[in-house]
Symmetry: C2
Amino acid sequence: MQVASAARSTTPIPAFPFPVPGLNAAGQSLASQPLPERIMRVQRGREIYAEGDMADQLYKVISGTVRTCRLLPDGRRLVAQFALSGEFFGLDGVSHHRFFAEAVSDVVLVAFPRREINHWVERDPAVAQSWQAYTLEKLAAAQDRFILLGRRTATERVAAFLLDLAERGRGPVGTVDLPMSRYDIADYLGLTAETVSRVLTNLRKSRIIGDQGCHRLRILDQDALQEQADEEAL
Amino acid sequence: MQVASAARSTTPIPAFPFPVPGLNAAGQSLASQPLPERIMRVQRGREIYAEGDMADQLYKVISGTVRTCRLLPDGRRLVAQFALSGEFFGLDGVSHHRFFAEAVSDVVLVAFPRREINHWVERDPAVAQSWQAYTLEKLAAAQDRFILLGRRTATERVAAFLLDLAERGRGPVGTVDLPMSRYDIADYLGLTAETVSRVLTNLRKSRIIGDQGCHRLRILDQDALQEQADEEAL
DNA sequence: CGTCGGATTGAGAACGTTCAAGGGGCGTGG
DNA sequence: CCACGCCCCTTGAACGTTCTCAATCCGACG
């Protein structure tokens, strides 16, 4: 884990991970009490925290992509989350991390001490409410993923993944960035890299997506892709 | 949904769904402000709430078993949770339920209005903390399930399921109750009922579990079962 | 220009599903 | 009380999707 020098005055104060009344859009406290912050820079492939580490911080991605994973003893891996720029991660355990986090690409992060969040939560019921709502939303998203992993075909999973990334990504409309490898995608979707590759090839041959290199593609037919994601047997 | 008549004086006040300072073990308020409660009785197979319903209540199972599920348009189903007696459910959406809940067996429930919980959370930071911790725990459990659904073999899934039920169940030690059907189990584990049945047969033939009817079994070799659950290739 | 890791493609195998048939337990009705 | 019927559970056989293993290709980077 690499911690860069303290934030420069040129670095904008990052937004709090969840919307909080009393903070403006940039996350600056309206109560003239700036949030403590710690800017971190992590190189591609480096670990941000390990499984079992104290979960005493939350992280917000300023730029780049982060993955949180767990490894089984025999080498099988599952990616729990991809955190894109603007998103946050680190909420994978009550007191200790149950997953480890790595930088998919070079990333810049902000770390929020959890005790600071707890302090806020204790002081302000509205913050507590926001925080709770945020956690509940995460829980709902996790439950949605049960269906993807438990009952969807390979094509459905990949199509849904592309649509999800397209929505979350910040590139030009219709263009999807895939900063992670096929192995990462596979371990996120409960597939193998070969299967992911084959599905992408099929979608390309069907003119549903267009090729712009390994780590970028265009969605040529949004409706068709949606159809592939929702249900094979429509 | 069936709502029984108001609780009798013989009905013990049910415990709050999550541990809360200021409440004793039975969930009775020490602040001489009893929690509002609503006892419900639901017959086996009946719906408790539907997908899309307002998520304005949390439920605690007093006796029986409840499943929460979602259905895909083509009939595929996924069971998100089994709530055994003493456990609670209903936290499957921020404002509206994203799953529907049904009674696996005849059940007795207590419903807690969410606004009541919110009220408590707003009044007492310690309650807020407990509530938050509870939600985080649920989130961590959900993330664990990603691995089960994404990367485990059929045998591993079933073995892990049996161990989980054995731990949560309240029957005699070494005995596991399976109130739900093979189809329910399959939809919980992302398998088919046939596969579940086959795995159980294999475990029986290996003398790892013993037969006591379709809905009850004995764990004969806990270590072996643990081995099956953790990893095939140990 | 060469090297290396990731991506793609192919062939074969394996695991789980699908389809189908038979068996058993429980509740209902005669 | 017994018989029937309806689920559900179990078992078998064939199929299919995905995985595994392997070779090749491509692109990024030195």
